[in-house]
């Protein structure tokens, strides 16, 4: 998967036709085969752009900043990224007319160990669902797979799961990198940053982290697109995807909803209902 040339060409064309003010893509860091996001403002910089299976970061995260909000932006989106973009469009965070979207029919990206990332193995929609230009051959939607880690954990006795997660919450340092790198965490002020002593817990204790991460994952329930920006950003390497995938699975299995961001104007599962939702857990 290497679309470097195509993306450079398109970006160059867009700049020369003055269709965009800004292009968001990836550039190589020059070592460890790593790539980082790059925001390009000028025609002459397009040569920096690359796109390979190391182009991991979900670039739609940059659309939430004030310096991109009212600009005409070109950007590259993979399948998962396009879904978060779709949700951002639905939730009025970006204007479609301001965007030129290069969609990728993604073949999966690599993790740090050089293997295909887990979310790519389990990816439901590798092709961009919204784009102005599509690169690669679309392979279509795939069947939903239950996350391997969730499967494993669900088998475990409650007490072990509790120990496991207690350790996870204990290791959280509450730097909030997860939420800052999430494209769907665009709130003006996160509820977790409330100052009032009774409302939210600001401490970096296990219970504080539990509180923050649970609230956060419930706010992303039915919206998370499994791009795993949060997990990659986490300096403590917490398996944050567990919380999101668990919610996603419950929602997918019980509510017959589309996965987050698959369809335009489709809001998260918590913002609609069906009369036939499961009722048997209620006395």
């Amino acid at each position: 998967m290497d679309y470097t040339m195509q993306i450079q060409d398109t970006a160059a064309r867009l700049f020369s036709e003055e269709k965009i003010d800004l292009f968001i893509g990836y550039r190589s860091t020059g070592f460890d085969n790593n790539q980082v996001p790059v925001l390009i403002h000028h025609y002459q910089d397009v040569e920096q752009l690359v796109f390979t299976d190391k182009s991991v970061f979900n670039l739609t995260n940059y659309l939430k900043y004030e310096y991109t909000r009212n600009k005409r932006v070109g950007l590259v989106v993979k399948g998962c990224d396009s879904r978060s973009l779709n949700l951002m469009l639905t939730e009025n965070q970006v204007k479609r007319e301001n965007l030129f979207i290069i969609g990728i029919a993604c073949e999966g990206v690599m993790n740090e160990q050089g293997e295909k990332a887990q979310n790519c193995v389990e990816c439901v929609m590798p092709d961009a669902v919204i784009y102005d230009e599509l690169l690669g051959a679309p392979t279509g939607q795939r069947e939903y797979q239950v996350n391997a880690d969730i499967n494993e954990l669900a088998e475990q006795p409650l007490i072990e799961r509790g120990t496991h997660f207690e350790e996870i919450f204990e290791n959280c340092i509450r730097c909030n990198a997860c939420r800052h790198s999430c494209p769907l965490c665009y709130c003006n002020k996160c509820c977790i940053d409330q100052e009032t002593s009774t409302l939210y817990q600001g401490s970096n204790t296990t219970s504080g982290a539990f509180h923050a991460l649970m609230t956060w994952s419930l706010h992303l329930a039915g919206r998370c697109v499994d791009c795993r920006n949060c997990e990659k950003a986490c300096p403590s390497h917490l398996p944050l995807h567990l919380l999101h995938k668990q919610n996603e699975q419950v929602i997918y299995e019980n509510f017959q909803e589309h996965l987050a961001g698959m369809i335009k104007d489709d809001r998260g599962a918590f913002y609609k209902y069906s009369m036939s939702d499961p009722d048997d857990f209620i006395m």
Partner: protein, 346 residues
């Protein structure tokens, strides 16, 4: 002061460590969830002092915990009772093994701020009661640049005892402070003290180590130039990529900003002092609603200038120790090395 250097074989080092673990509250880098963190260890095999530097969290939390109770309070009809939280789980005598040089230096840098103005007794107590045994790196990692800064990595006295794996296959254990000297007297009884030739070997090791750095800069020049680059447009450029995730500050061995939060149940509450970051938009938000650093580049400027200019001006040491942890942890790989270079070269 006469500081001794001991020499031993790798096996001797292992038994040296074992002896320490057996008799002391010991901390060392332990792997957890794919990264290394300084945790308490009970048995020597757990000890991994040569953990890869890229994946090791800083030692800071052992002295400046991510969340510490400041006080407890209870409100009653008669008034509010405040109790100091005296019990501090980290205040006892302890030894930390396998400390990276940069981490140790970080503590030295932190000391400056903790002994200035307000004396943080908790921190002082933890510092006094801790013996730091370093393990000198054999090779620089991708983002390291400790040798390019304002301190002498080779002769650093930031640790009490330095452990150096010589290129000749021998292990050199060197006391760097008086505290370390005493500690070694008590704990390294089985090891042989060396003479001058050991210093040669250690120098060779250092030369090999310092030759392995990818990143190098002229600290004096950068520090000098940075002072006049407050208005540099480069800050704005580097800040566009930043996602304000605060990770850099939380993993940094020298960042020491914190916030105070109260948590209350019923009429009882606890006041916590927890990590915060200058990259956080709310960090400078004032009660009246004004925020002097609303834009990302202003916060980045504060961070870079504080690290390379302000702290140096005030305390005479550079706040960045060149460990590269922030760059490794950054989700978009912003390198403070590149930032300061970019800013001072514009």
């Amino acid at each position: 002061m006469n500081l001794t250097t001991y020499i031993t074989e790798p096996a001797g080092l292992q038994s040296f460590y074992e002896a320490i673990v057996a008799t002391n509250e010991t901390y060392a880098p332990v792997e957890k969830l794919g990264k290394f963190d300084y945790k308490q260890i009970k048995t020597p095999p757990e000890c991994q002092p040569d953990s890869p530097i890229e994946q090791t969290m800083s030692i800071k939390p052992l002295f400046f915990p991510k969340s510490a109770r400041v006080m407890k309070y209870e409100a009653t009809a008669e008034g509010t009772d405040v109790t100091d939280t005296t019990e501090d789980p980290l205040a006892g005598k302890r030894v930390i093994l396998g400390v990276k040089h940069c981490d140790a230096r970080g503590l030295q840098v932190l000391d400056e701020v903790y002994k200035w103005d307000y004396i943080d007794t908790d921190y002082q107590k933890r510092r006094e009661n801790t013996i730091i045994i370093s393990a000198r790196c054999e090779q620089a990692a991708t983002h390291c640049f400790c040798t390019s800064l304002d301190y002498d990595v080779e002769q650093s006295d930031a640790m009490d005892v330095a452990v150096i794996n010589g290129l000749d296959g021998k292990v050199y254990i060197q006391a760097r402070t008086e505290k370390g000297e005493h500690f070694l007297k008590e704990n390294a009884s089985g090891l042989a003290a060396t003479n001058g030739s050991a210093l040669e070997e250690m120098k060779k090791q250092y030369q090999a180590f310092s030759g392995s750095f990818r990143l190098k800069m002229d600290y004096k020049e950068i520090n000098g130039k940075m002072q006049s680059r407050f208005e540099s447009p480069a800050f704005e450029e580097v800040a566009t990529n930043c996602v304000s995730c605060n990770t850099c500050a939380f993993v940094c061995p020298t960042c020491h900003c914190f916030k105070i939060t109260d948590e209350r149940i019923r009429d009882e509450g606890v006041r916590y002092k927890s990590y915060d970051s200058c990259n956080n938009i709310y960090f400078t938000l004032m009660a009246g609603g004004h925020n002097p650093r609303p834009a990302k580049y202003r916060r980045w400027r504060q961070r870079a200038m504080h690290k390379f200019v302000y702290y140096k001006e005030r305390f005479g040491v550079n706040l960045c120790v060149g460990c590269g942890k922030c760059t490794i942890s950054c989700p978009v790989n912003i390198s403070i090395f590149e930032v300061v270079n970019q800013v001072s070269n514009v």
